[in-house]
């Protein structure tokens, strides 16, 4: 469990720095199990900050959403840092963005949280539906302790955890300025079971599977907008000249969108799963990203978002790279 006092103190310390604009973290949301991003601009705001297994959002998206309007005469750009509360996966997004020179290390102050896994909102809402009041969720060893309508439930973690958290190899922030609590130990390994079983299917079966998924897409682009790695100034899907993807919403254009999205994240996706969580149509988007992640690991022994000094996969060449795929 994260010591909330320690967290709030760290937020206060950060937000009171002259060179920090604001700190982004989590607070309780407006109903049930909802937790919501919160921005601290002042010391008072820091007292709203929490960290619980419900803190799913990857806040690494926010520095990339900073809106830079044209400056007025005499106005100077606000170059102060942004403070961020980061879990293991979130910190990997920051590392990856730094590798790509999207951010400089000194642009952010990272309050790292050793994470023991977060809860999939879909799973917990299905188990305890219709919670209008804020519900507190705590952790006790291998169980989540949930107090609903006066009754305390102890649920094995595996039942509620996000799938990604069950195989997470980086629960500790790989980069941080302040660490809240002690690093956690893990023996979890990504085994790509899901992907392996999908790979075994025939081409027809695979197409049937994805066809059903892509047909559902309404092209709201929540997958893109929730993704910390999708920070292009202009997304290819918004371009009109040339128009890479048509605005018509149909299987063909939807498929083009999802394949291009997945390919643009090749060697960059850090597996936080925000795309899938944000998708209102329940499209299993992480399967696409995981497949590419697996291939890259096998071919180049490369994992994105680990070392800020390293070059991005697609920007480096090693003479001993395997080249079996080149005909």
């Amino acid at each position: 469990m994260v010591d909330e006092k320690q967290l709030r103190d760290a937020v206060k310390k950060t937000v009171s720095r002259d060179d920090v604009k604001y700190v982004v973290g989590y607070k309780n949301g407006t109903y049930g199990f909802q937790v919501t991003p919160v921005f601290a601009f002042s010391l008072e705001d820091a007292d709203k900050f929490i960290f619980s297994p419900l803190c799913v959002n990857n806040l690494a998206v926010y520095p990339m959403l900073e809106e830079k309007l044209p400056l007025r005469k005499g106005e100077e750009e606000d170059t102060r840092k942004i403070g961020l509360v980061v879990k293991g996966c979130d910190s990997r997004a920051i590392v990856q963005i730094i590798q790509e020179k999207g951010l400089k290390r000194e642009d952010v102050v990272l309050i790292g949280i050793p994470c023991t896994g977060v809860i999939d909102p879909k799973k917990i809402n299905a188990k305890f539906p219709h919670q209008t009041k804020t519900v507190d969720v705590k952790e006790d060893g291998e169980k989540f302790v949930i107090k609903v309508n006066g009754t305390t439930h102890k649920i094995p973690k595996d039942e509620l955890l996000f799938e990604k958290c069950k195989h997470c190899e980086n629960p500790n922030p790989v980069i941080y300025d302040i660490l809240i609590g002690k690093e956690v130990k893990t023996s979890k390994k990504e085994n790509y079971e899901d992907i392996k079983s999908l790979e075994k299917k025939s081409l027809e079966e695979k197409w049937d599977y994805w066809k059903k998924q892509f047909e559902k897409c309404i092209r709201c682009y929540a997958c893109r907008d929730a993704c910390p790695m999708c920070y292009c100034k202009e997304c290819m899907v918004d371009q009109l000249s040339p128009q890479w993807i048509r605005r018509s919403v149909n299987l063909s254009e939807n498929t083009a969108w999802h394949l291009m999205r997945a390919f643009h994240l090749a060697g960059r996706c850090i597996g936080c799963g925000e795309c899938e969580r944000a998708c209102p149509m329940d499209i299993p988007l992480t399967k696409l990203n995981k497949k590419i992640e697996k291939d890259i690991k096998e071919m180049f022994d490369y994992t994105p978002g680990i070392d800020a000094e390293e070059k991005p996969l697609l920007a480096m060449f090693k003479p001993d790279d395997p080249e079996e795929f080149i005909l």
């Binding site: 109903y31 937790v35 809106e67 209008t132 709201c220 929540a222 907008d225 209102p280 329940d282």
Partner: protein, 341 residues
Amino acid sequence: MDRLILPKNKMSEFINAIKTKYQVFAPVENDGVTLFKQIKDSSEVNLDFSNSKVPPKALLFKQTETLFKFTPGTKGKIDPVDIPNEKTVIFGIRPCDAKSLTILDHVFKNDFEDPYYLTKRENTVLVGLSCNQPDVNCFCTSFDDGPASAEHVDILLTDIGDKYYVEVKSDKGKQLAKTVDKLLRPASENDGEKKKEVEKKAADIITRHQKTDGIVDKLDKIFDNPFWKNIAVKCLGCGTCTYLCPTCHCFDIQDETTMAKGARIRVWDSCMRPEYTLQASGYNPRPTRMNRVRNRVYHKYSYYPKNYDIIACVGCGRCIDNCPTNIDIIDVVTKAGEVKA
């Protein structure tokens, strides 16, 4: 209004009988999400749902609609398309979504008559289904509506235990009821009482409430308040809230062409995107997410009531359920009412 009874075990017969005269769209389980889809048989219908993920507005105001086709070039010509005019039933539409169509009617038949929407609307019969188990973010009662309101449907079915209480509201509804009159029998007073009980029970489940008293005047006074920046600061700028909203109706028009043929289409657009207001000069009057989030609220709670005397929100809760960052319209509007102007 005719009040009738449909025994539960006759439901599938009821749907199949309607199907002989109308094309029927009904809630169908679609790989994890409930959607309104055209059905071939009553067995596909899933009536055990809170509400569909995408609102049934999508059946009348389609996400992608071909306005006409054309042949480009010097010998180019325009080929009109037939606007679908089959007799249609939307079966199982919730009272809130039915109201959303009444709200949308203002847009599509006011300054211009939109034949694409209106043709479908005129040929569509709404067979509503009362909401016995409102979901966590339902708040239709905030607008003096109820989960079992028959006001905006042609026929309303309410599950009152072992049977459905059937209220036939309009001429369209009467016509439809004729095709299934063998399955229906008159309702007793007791059945009517039961419906009221069910309605009250459902309304009691709804505990979230949005305060809209005086909101139109209030919004006039707080347009420049920092409140909006605080609300919008966590917005990611995706279009989920607008696409899943039963009253959002903005669209974009595009020509999609190949070498030899083309079509002018309209597709749903979203005021949450910068491109929505981007002008050819490069100037954008709504340059930040604050401007865009504020506009979404003002459109529904200020401009719309001023133009058409009705708030453009029905309280379905979809935007709250699906927002990845918990921007909650109940909370936003209630708090806007409390802001010191």
